[in-house]
């Protein structure tokens, strides 16, 4: 009886300690779980580009924020893979991309505190002429799910990569405007589809925009070329607000956002 109770006590203490030591201001990174017998050569996310977004509105609504003021960071990681087996005699290649959108908190010229919020994120890549877009990617159904698949299928020869991305839906409640075509990979995460979406009681405001959030995408294609480069554009935008409930937004509209781009050139060999 006593032993059982002791176990309960120890477990309780451990839970309290763990809960109190966690830092909830940073969202956990999506975790990629790939099978050990993956049929692809995968380059993991060991290259990152920091896209720093400064206040650079061409037609600023608010003038109390200094130029060069950082309003947010988009930390983008890139990984690539090549299937071990060819598909219909062609290489089966792909990119894995994930970004951590981290809004900034700062003082304006008058010493008042301002809060950055994530507004928009876009990945785009024009596929090389020798590449043919494959599959149903990008798979980015992030609404209401804790986990979404990044599975990629490669046809009859069995070239495939599969796995899951664990992503707390709390941080992924965004609108997906994917537009993959034969030659263009384009995926947009529009945190604010229109100005009318901005309401003080909006769930999205409270849950997502002012916190660190993660987004992820994949793109796959086949090609007969063994060695070439691809260029991925990353475009991130942040707005600013006087309060974390979304009130006092300085630049909520598309044309008035602070934005920055980053380019990845990834080599396939």
């Amino acid at each position: 009886m006593l032993k059982k109770f002791q176990k309960v006590i120890i477990a309780t203490i451990l839970i309290i300690v763990v809960l109190c030591d966690s830092n909830f201001t940073y969202a956990a990174a999506p975790e990629i779980k790939l099978p050990s017998d993956s049929a692809a050569t995968i380059t993991n996310f060991t290259v990152r580009r920091t896209v720093t977004v400064t206040y650079n509105c061409s037609q600023p609504i608010g003038t109390d924020i200094s130029r060069n003021q950082v309003v947010g960071y988009c930390y983008t990681y890139i990984g690539s893979y090549r299937a071990k087996n060819k598909v219909d005699g062609k290489y089966f290649d792909g990119l894995l991309i994930k970004s951590n959108m981290v809004p900034s908190t700062f003082y304006n010229k008058n010493g008042q505190k301002k809060y950055g919020f994530s507004q928009y994120l876009q990945y785009s890549m024009t596929l090389n002429k020798h590449c043919t877009y494959q599959g149903n990617t990008p798979i980015n159904d992030t609404s209401g799910s804790d986990e979404y698949s990044i599975g990629i299928t490669g046809g009859s020869d069995g070239a495939s990569v599969s796995g899951t991305v664990n992503c707390n839906s709390k941080y992924c409640d965004v609108t997906d405007l994917s537009n993959p075509t034969k030659n263009l990979f384009k995926i947009e995460y529009d945190y604010i589809p229109s100005a009318s979406d901005w309401k003080s009681n909006s769930t999205r405001n409270k849950k997502v925009l002012f916190a660190s959030t993660w987004q992820m995408a994949t793109c796959t294609w086949t090609t007969s070329y063994s060695s070439y480069n691809v260029v991925l554009d990353v475009y991130a935008k942040f707005g600013t607000s006087s309060a974390k409930n979304g009130s006092g937004m300085t630049m909520p509209l598309y044309n008035y956002s602070s934005k920055a781009t980053g380019i990845f050139i990834n080599s396939f060999r």
């Binding site: 990174a29 896209v51 060069n68």
Partner: protein
Amino acid sequence: MKKKIIIKIVLIILLVFILVIGFFLVREYVARNSDKDSMTTVENDIEILSKEYPTLMHIYGEELKFDDSISTNNISQITSDIFRRTDDYDYQLLIINDLSGKNVLSDDEWMIIKEVLMSNNDINFLYLGNKQFDKIIEVGIVEGDRTMFQDGDLSLGLFYEGETAISVYGTYTSTLGKSQKDVCEAIMREQAYSIKIGNE
């Protein structure tokens, strides 16, 4: 009967003890996080690098003026001795400030940097400038090739996120502010971000 009563008393004392400890821990947590909430990003980064995860910045080249609470060590030569661990710091960051494009390290010094970085996941590296990009890649300090650079890039780094070494592009670029303050804030952000992600 008497034994049962004693057990009950012990259980009650333990329960009260747990509740009291839990109360204080939760209160501490709330206080700590509400403090963080009231900080700006820069203030929070300074807190991380000076208190939460004390970090020593080794600066080679032109001096960089960080906030007073950040520990710095100006160096004129790269030797493995400067990275000797002490109890005072959890992390170290080696900054090669070459924004003027005049600093040239010897091959031996580049090799020392590589060896130190490859064997210590608590030491990060940041090169400021653009003259030595090719050298850094040639030595094998960071992953990538010339095509990875973007116009305006003025930095290249290797930052550990836990056990994983990440080659970092774009920490400081020509589109960012040019004052010492802007440069130092960009460096602090990169270091603080890597530490936080690595300790999640």
